[in-house]
Symmetry: C2
Subunit: 248 residues, 2 copies
């Protein structure tokens, strides 16, 4: 994906069919053109820390390609992942200066950045941007709260099933397919990262993955490729009554 083909569309538009990806030709609005003028790119390798908690943040950014994680840490090293940054997701905030969590690249990533000052000035001129940013933040807040339910009240098995169904759903929306009964996807996380996300240990994650496999809920090809023979069964295991609505 060449840099110059990329637009940070999620900031300008919430209605694109491929809204969770970075490129959308339909979005060539005025705001987008303005955003284009003040953007610049930074790339990071897998494993690199993009932002340290406590860092002075003089920019905001949106992920163009790759995956990064938001994590919080206790002094003694216990860590909890608090968010996943996927292409088109936004990080940083206007105003206040210090980062509240670490952002680490899981794969090689490319980020589309805006220095804070011009970005804020632009927000003042085009209310649409602030409103879109508000929408996105509210969605993230809903997702965070759904995650709180998972962390506080679900069993290890339910947690794993929930995570798998979220990754599957995201994958489905990328592929634009309707939610098929049977589907296959890649797990972009190590067992350790899954554990940090779910508030478990990696051993427990591994055991529950094996259990789900033994019970026929999932099939594994290698460690990272997952096939779900029956999506409804997986959702049942996840314990969500609603039809989902997780956002990742």
């Amino acid at each position: 994906m060449a840099q110059d083909d990329v637009y940070p569309v999620s900031l300008a538009c919430g209605d694109c069919p491929i809204q969770h990806r970075a490129v959308c030709a339909r979005c060539d609005s005025e705001e987008l053109v303005e955003l284009e003028k003040i953007k610049y790119y930074r790339s990071f390798e897998a494993g690199q820390t993009v932002i340290w908690a406590g860092d002075q943040m003089d920019f905001v950014a949106s992920v163009v390609s790759g995956i990064a994680t938001l994590t919080q840490t206790l002094e003694d090293g216990r860590t909890q992942m608090v968010g996943l940054l996927l292409p088109s997701d936004f990080v940083g905030r206007p105003g206040r200066a210090r980062a509240a969590y670490n952002v680490t690249a899981t794969t090689d990533i490319l980020m589309c950045c805006f220095r804070k000052k011009p970005f804020e000035e632009m927000m003042d001129r085009t209310p649409h941007i602030a409103q879109r940013l508000l929408q996105m933040t509210l969605d993230e807040l809903d997702a965070a709260r759904e995650w709180m339910l998972l962390l506080g009240r679900k069993t290890a098995r339910e947690k794993i099933a929930s995570l798998l169904s979220i990754v599957a759903r995201r994958d489905a929306s990328v592929n634009m397919s309707t939610a098929a009964a049977r589907m296959t996807f890649d797990l972009p996380l190590t067992r350790e990262a899954m554990a940090d996300y779910l508030g478990l240990t990696l051993e427990t994650v591994s055991r529950q993955m094996s259990a789900l496999k033994r019970d026929g809920v999932i099939e594994l090809q290698g460690k990272r490729h997952v096939t779900v023979p029956d999506m409804d069964r997986l959702l049942l295991e996840a314990g969500d009554d609603s039809d989902g609505g997780f956002l990742v």
Copy 2:
């Protein structure tokens, strides 16, 4: 508190010394006057459900007095509190129609409401409101993420200590006192509500409260009045390295 004395200041202003309370005379700005024109009030008794998950939301609102909780529930009844609504806190969102969680009054509450349509029109005219709302939402997101760390990685004792220090801090900011070493405050939650907030059972909450009392970290007068002889000790028990920054 007479209704007519009340302004939903948090929407108009983020800089008031009493920003987490509802009344601020300094805030008589133009936006505030506009907000005044479209507001109306609703009150609820303790125990009443203000909003059901899935409800059509045709209004947004800000708490004037009293306390309400946001909760999410699994089919089988397991519940997780995902937020606390205190005076000046905001609930609801422009755009999208359905509520994602239950809102229940803990005490009698008074809410300052705005029908969605006029509120959105106003947001279009005064970008300041959208930006302020964005700030508030980002603060809530940070708080939610800090809570995820608590739910995923802290021990029962640390969870209790964290909750106490949050309530204490909020109380301190209300009383405008500097963080004193020794302080006394009211716990506005039952043991069961604390359990739902912390992802524990009420028995465990009770046991840990007793343990903290036995160890001299807190003193209890009755069930709801807490004295913390040494705030630093409590913060140490909470396991947070940082100087806090929780928002409730």
